[in-house]
């Protein structure tokens, strides 16, 4: 039986040149007071402070637009955890961004029900409309609104059923700072069984 190779670090008795990451101190990270207060308030809601990791990362993202390394260090200092711990959490979730994104965000659903009703075309339309603008468009898995397929989440609110013209209008409205597609907001839809007239038809076949 051949011998297993031994890691030179062990055979040569080298000590690691980097100590394990430490929890940053609050005074080193320059955490804004309101961010700190928000994260502390979140921690106080749970029996264990670690539970506030996602809420803390949400708070960081709201403040800086994405989970910036500095923001993560600030949250880590408040939570008394290592930045690596929060990074590992952030990287697990699709909605937490570990790289910069645009000011506005559009998630276009391309899952089964939306795909059946033109979701891929809608994604292309949004991509075309947002080309070169400060609107971050991405395809997304089912957003839980297959009743308004094909649909998109625009700055966290749901709209559908949408067509290519809606996509172009939405991008313009976003950039102009106006209300986005009021007619297509999920919030304003009646229950399917109560809907008469225009709302009755879902999809792009009305």
């Amino acid at each position: 039986m051949s011998e297993l190779p031994i890691d030179p670090a062990v055979s040569e008795g080298r000590v690691p040149d980097r100590t394990p990451e430490e929890i940053p101190e609050l005074h080193e990270v320059g955490c804004p007071d309101d961010l700190r207060a928000e994260i502390e308030e979140r921690m106080s809601r749970y029996p264990d402070r670690h539970s506030a990791s996602i809420p803390a990362l949400w708070a960081v993202q709201r403040r800086y637009g994405w989970c910036t390394p500095e923001g993560i260090r600030q949250a880590a200092a408040v939570m008394r955890v290592t930045p690596a711990y929060l990074e590992s959490v952030a990287s697990f979730y699709d909605l937490l961004h570990t790289s910069p994104v645009g000011e506005h965000q559009v998630h276009v659903c391309t899952n089964i029900s939306c795909w059946m009703r033109g979701g891929d075309g809608l994604l292309e339309a949004f991509e075309a409309a947002a080309e070169g603008k400060d609107v971050f468009v991405s395809g997304f898995e089912c957003l839980g609104a297959c009743d308004i397929a094909p649909m998109a989440s625009i700055d966290k609110r749901y709209f559908g059923p949408l067509d290519a013209d809606d996509a172009a209008a939405a991008v313009e409205q976003l950039l102009a700072g106006g209300e986005v597609l009021p007619e297509k907001a999920l919030e304003r839809r009646p229950l399917a069984g109560d809907a008469g007239g225009s709302h009755r038809e879902g999809g792009s076949d009305a």
Binding site: R45, P47, A52, Y93, L95, G144, L191, E201, D205
Partner: protein, 441 residues
């Protein structure tokens, strides 16, 4: 056939979202009874007798699960699963958006039944509007003394926190949800121990779906016998069913369990789009084995009938495909979703979903052989039952069913795609057909 609205009763009234509106329709009377007059065991018994089955996927009896929690003084928890991320499911969204207090009342009563002092609503981060609505409703309920310390003078406390997820389907799996709630990456845990014994922070934990818990106030108010007056022996009650895909009126419809599936799809949801024919449907979300229109339309929409037909009611979400939808492409979409959402912890799921996507891509590009279809089918068999959680099975079951039931179409797709020679459009079939019914994009 009209709807039978119990959970969605008065849901058309926007005032229902406010505590005054909810109380105006008799809301919180059950909570007052549960904390004032009833013993926890009485509540448990009512829930058990009602036969209410979980509405989140597995259909496990809610009262029975609640009775598994140990008795006595200790830190116990209740988690409401509002992650709703299975493709095709959007009923919890409707229930939270239109009637948040019904859910809060149900949570508070269930917490009293099992002795939980802390409750959490784990809501998917994408449901921002619904989480805002819940936040407001929870604040109102605290204000009214229905939550917090010494509820209505009962010496019982309950803290309720709305916890927003951040986009990961796997967090809907109950043990992954617990890890996510503890602030970790949402990876499923090995079971046993089951959450009822050892769950959140190591304490006994009851986990139920939004719709399951929303049923609780009415059961306590009107009794198990009343509840059993709806539905079938094995599937009592009503169900909010999400119908989507290629139907005229997609939406949430509340019906008695056990009605013919045809009524849901063809009457309430308006049936197929003009000039199209129904072909197949997922009866219980994208994880349920697809039924052909012939085998499925006349089945009663109940847990038992769907199980007998080799599928499942799951979360109660019907996705309808018509003759314009290519089944191999639909299988690919389905597999891609599970591949994207696999947490990667165990091999059959991580590799199986990855491999299945690659094979189905070869099928739609015309690079596979008909024999490869046998391999696809057998790989699905090897995934089922061999994963740590059910996510692996959730891909294998529908994909396996599609390959089995639509074998001829898969072979035709391969033949056509390889014969054409040029790079086939990834969605040629569906996109083309959408144009024929007048889609803009």
């Amino acid at each position: 056939m009209p709807e039978t609205r119990v959970l969605l009763e008065h849901a058309e009234d926007p005032a229902l979202r406010t505590i005054d509106g909810y109380r105006g329709y008799g809301g919180y009377a059950s909570l007052e009874r549960a904390y004032g007059e009833m013993e926890p065991d009485e509540i448990l018994k009512e829930l058990e007798d009602s036969g209410l089955r979980g509405r989140g996927g597995a259909g496990f009896a809610m009262g029975k699960k609640a009775s598994f929690l140990p008795r006595g003084e200790m830190a116990k928890y209740l988690c409401c699963n509002a992650d709703e991320s299975e493709p095709g499911a959007f009923k919890d969204r409707e229930l939270m958006q239109r009637n948040p207090h019904q859910l809060i009342e149900g949570i508070a009563i269930a917490a009293r039944a099992v002795g939980a002092g802390h409750a959490f609503i784990f809501i998917r981060g994408e449901y921002d509007l619904q989480a805002d609505i819940l936040d407001r409703a929870v604040a109102e309920a605290y204000e009214a003394g229905y939550l917090g310390q010494n509820i209505l003078g009962s010496h019982c406390d309950l803290e309720l926190v709305v916890h927003r997820g951040a986009g990961a389907y796997i967090c809907g799996e109950e043990t992954a949800l617990l890890d996510a709630l503890e602030g970790k990456r949402g990876n499923p845990r090995l079971k046993p121990p089951f959450p009822a014994v050892q769950g959140l922070y190591g304490g006994p934990t009851l986990i139920n779906n939004v719709e399951t818990l929303s049923n609780v106030p009415r059961i306590v108010e009107r009794g198990a016998g009343w509840f059993r007056g709806f539905g079938t022996e094995q599937s009592p009650g009503t169900k909010v069913v999400s119908v989507s895909g290629r139907v005229r009126h997609p939406g949430n419809y509340e019906v008695e369990l056990g009605i013919p599936t045809r009524e849901l799809i063809c009457d309430l949801a308006g049936g197929p789009l003009d000039g199209c024919e129904l072909k197949a449907f997922y009866p219980g979300g994208s994880s349920s084995p697809v039924l052909t229109a012939e085998e499925g339309l006349d089945l009663p929409y109940s847990f038992e009938a769907m199980a007998e037909a080799g599928s499942m009611l799951g979360s109660g979400s019907i996705i309808v495909a018509d003759d314009t939808v290519s089944i191999p492409h639909m299988a690919l979409r389905t597999a891609r979703f599970y591949h994207h959402e696999s947490c990667g912890k165990c091999t059959p799921c991580r590799e199986g979903t990855n491999w299945t996507v690659k094979m189905l891509e070869r099928v739609v590009r015309g690079e596979a052989t008909p024999m490869d279809l046998d391999i696809v089918a057998s790989v699905q068999e090897n995934i089922i039952g061999h994963c740590l959680c059910v996510l692996g099975d959730s891909m294998a079951m529908p994909v396996g069913a599609m390959v089995r039931k639509f074998r001829a179409e898969f072979e035709r797709t391969i033949a056509e795609a390889s014969g054409a020679g040029d790079e086939p459009d990834r969605l040629a079939t569906v996109q083309g057909s959408i144009e024929t019914v007048g889609a803009a994009p």
